[in-house]
């Protein structure tokens, strides 16, 4: 059980909508932090702007809630100035991939020793459900009323290509696996990127025929394919179902990293 003293009790309940997966991902991250045995005084949570980025405000540690998209740059400053701190970044798909895309690829390239947890809910949730760089083609959002026409980013693959030392993807349904992945990322020196696909029932599900919270979670669960299974399917020429995405550990390696405490 996550020790209740990790939470700012006076701030709960949080601002997230009913059924929002962000709270689940906070749980998984804190469970991983507990598994690592990190102390509260040495753990810094950094975030940008968006629903996901309100997370550090509910966690009882030093925390930096920064400007839109810049969380990774702030976190780089914190970690480089104090390599003995454990730095965790909460970010969202809009924050990370749109306005913060440049900071994202450069943080992966530098391989600064920190853990980045991206709550990917396919849209800009806080501003009311506009299309983001991860909105799947065809999905309805308030700025893609006829279906998204742009191809979407695969954030985890982007992190692999940009050089992060640990990359994994899970969903808010896979709580145990997600916790393990975040903990594995925290253990890996260098940048660990964990993409957590999550449900936004209010602004995404409602417009995309996934009206209830369980329906949206079930959609995430049923479209997640383990990396190994996916590779087997590709090798055997089995058609990949539409909307499916890989989950699991995508990469774990030891490229030279920055800000690793000696």
């Amino acid at each position: 059980m996550i020790a209740p003293d990790w939470f700012r009790d006076d701030r709960l309940p949080h601002i997230y909508c009913t059924g929002c997966g962000n709270g689940t991902i906070i749980n998984c991250t804190l469970a991983a932090v507990e598994e690592m045995g990190w102390k509260r005084d040495e753990t810094i949570f950094v975030s940008g702007i968006g629903c996901s980025s309100r997370a550090p405000g509910y966690i009882l540690t030093d925390s930096l809630h920064t400007t839109h998209g810049r969380a990774l740059a702030f976190a780089t400053g914190v970690k480089m100035a104090r390599p003995d701190f454990n730095v965790v970044v909460f970010t969202g798909d809009g924050d990370l991939a749109a306005i913060g895309g440049n900071h994202f690829i450069h943080a992966c390239r530098r391989n600064v020793d920190m853990t980045v947890v991206c709550m990917n809910n396919y849209i800009y949730g806080m501003t009311g459900g506009q299309g983001s760089p991860t909105t799947p083609p065809g999905a309805i959002s308030s700025t893609t009323p006829y279906g998204a026409s742009e191809p979407a980013f695969d954030l985890a693959e982007l992190a692999v290509a940009a050089g992060a030392n640990y990359v994994a993807r899970w969903t808010s349904y896979h709580v145990k696996e997600l916790t393990k992945a975040i903990a594995a990322g925290m253990q890996t020196p260098g940048l660990a990127f964990v993409e957590a696909r999550t449900q936004c029932p209010t602004n995404y599900g409602r417009h995309n025929k996934l009206r209830t919270v369980p329906a949206m979670v079930e959609h995430l669960r049923s479209h997640a394919i383990l990396v190994r299974k996916y590779e087997r399917m590709v090798a055997e020429g089995v058609p990949i179902p539409e909307g499916a995405f890989t989950v699991g550990e995508l990469v774990r390696r030891s490229r030279p990293a920055m800000g690793v405490q000696r």
Binding site: M1, P4, L12, P13, C17, G19, C20, T24, C28, V213
Partner: protein, 90 residues
């Protein structure tokens, strides 16, 4: 140990209903004082974590606790401890 839902935090998303392997959480029907329909517990003493957490000294299962986005599900100590008659369905 006793399974509890913190009514001051629960927003009634019913994710616990979806994940509980014992179907302990059931969708509620009545509004609480905050205007939220919170899930109700069906024979919570069946929960492995209630029964065996103290024995094993770690959390067992606990998926409801992890997935609850509102940090509303937890276990509290029961004192004085009263043994429950447990009906386990196979």
């Amino acid at each position: 140990m006793k399974l509890v839902i913190d009514e001051s935090r629960c927003k009634g998303c019913n994710l616990c209903v979806l994940v509980c392997p014992y179907k302990i959480f059931q969708e509620g029907t009545e509004l609480n004082s905050r205007g939220i329909v919170t899930p109700v517990l069906d024979r919570p003493e069946r929960c492995t974590n209630c029964r065996l957490q103290a024995l094993y000294g770690r959390m067992l299962c606990g998926v409801c606790h992890m997935i609850c986005p509102d940090q509303a599900i937890s276990w509290v100590e029961e004192r004085p401890f009263e043994p429950h008659k447990v009906e386990v369905e196979f």
